[in-house]
């Protein structure tokens, strides 16, 4: 415990500097501070607790190995988030290669049925308590395909631009736009149905 107390008063910047010099105790303190955020990002993309745990831990290992490359252009936690996102996208690509291409997947790529859905009004999230809203968003996100969820998470939560998402996902900007549009329509549809379920 004293090990933790020694470093807990230091800022992230100081901890990173110490870790760059090989201080693993300092690195452990950084991990303890930001592990939830890194794990949450992995979980939001994979929707699987075990995978999220493995990938977030792998991200920390890579973070340690690449510490010398961290120049402080962004915050350390942003830098770590980029690492875990890349690992998740790699994992999704592996999984996509492994599973056979289905007709459903092809439909999703071009927008599928959701493209022709009528515009949903009124706002399905209006009047919800924040906790309830978050819970429903989470449930809806879980029902998206991995590719569409990844695009939505990267754009809405990580606030990455189309170009950056396309680069990270290894696809065209047009594909990103199409996936994002579909994901939003699907989300709106899912939130509306969750609202109906609660009303009944």
């Amino acid at each position: 415990m004293s090990m933790h107390l020694d470093r807990s008063a230091l800022t992230d910047v100081d901890l990173v500097r110490a870790a760059q010099k090989g201080d693993m105790v300092a690195f452990e303190e950084i991990v303890a501070r930001h592990r939830d955020k890194i794990y949450a990002r992995a979980y939001s993309m994979m929707r699987n607790e075990d995978e999220a745990l493995d990938l977030s831990q792998e991200a920390w290992v890579k973070g340690w190995q690449r510490l010398v490359q961290f120049q402080g252009d962004s915050s350390f936690v942003t830098w770590m988030t980029r690492i875990v996102i890349n690992l998740c996208l790699d994992q999704l690509r592996k999984q996509k290669r492994q599973r056979a291409e289905s007709i459903e997947a092809l439909e999703e790529e071009s927008g599928g049925v959701e493209r022709y859905m009528p515009v949903i009004n009124p706002n399905p999230t209006a009047g919800l308590e924040r906790t309830e809203l978050r819970r429903r968003i989470d449930r809806a996100l879980a029902q998206l395909s991995k590719e569409h969820r990844a695009v939505l998470v990267l754009h809405e939560f990580e606030e990455l631009e189309y170009k950056e998402i396309a680069k990270r996902m290894g696809c065209s900007i047009g594909t990103v736009m199409s996936r994002l549009f579909y994901a939003r329509r699907r989300m709106a549809s899912l939130l509306a149905s969750l609202k109906r379920e609660n009303a009944e």
Binding site: Q57, V61, L152, E156, M177, L180
Partner: protein, 174 residues
Amino acid sequence: MNQDLELKLQAWLDGELPAAEGRGIGQEIAGDAEASRLVADLQALKSALAGNELGVTVPDTREFYWSKIERQIQRESRSLRPVQVPRRAVWLRWLSPLAGFASLACMLMLAVKPPALPTFDEISSTGEGMEAVTFNDQSAGMTVVWLADPEQAQSTDTPVAKTPDTGDSEVEME
């Protein structure tokens, strides 16, 4: 509404549309009820998602979560560390190719011999008072040695060629 317009409206909403293209969008939305509804719908969802990601926490304790990271770091640093090679092995590493090269050089020297020069098994020396003229034809592999006795030559005034079987001259065939 066609897909191009849908994606264009979305890009405009996300601030990804070039300024030149974005200027006309406002008029396009105002004159198209469906486009207007789509923009409102996308905007509502965007607002709903902003800052409303459900927070999840690591299900493991701090120590347990870290222990796996630490083990992995140590394992990978071990695998990256260079293996200590014994001093003798270092010498052998250098000597082995050198020995091989030397052997090869020796074999090459033995295999590529310089062309043999004509050699004479014996050089006959003549007795005192005798004159010797040697003719060597390398292409025929023949050497003819003329022996002449000056006293005899003076008496006859012409040198006499001696055939090998006379014993006065030697013809060496190589």
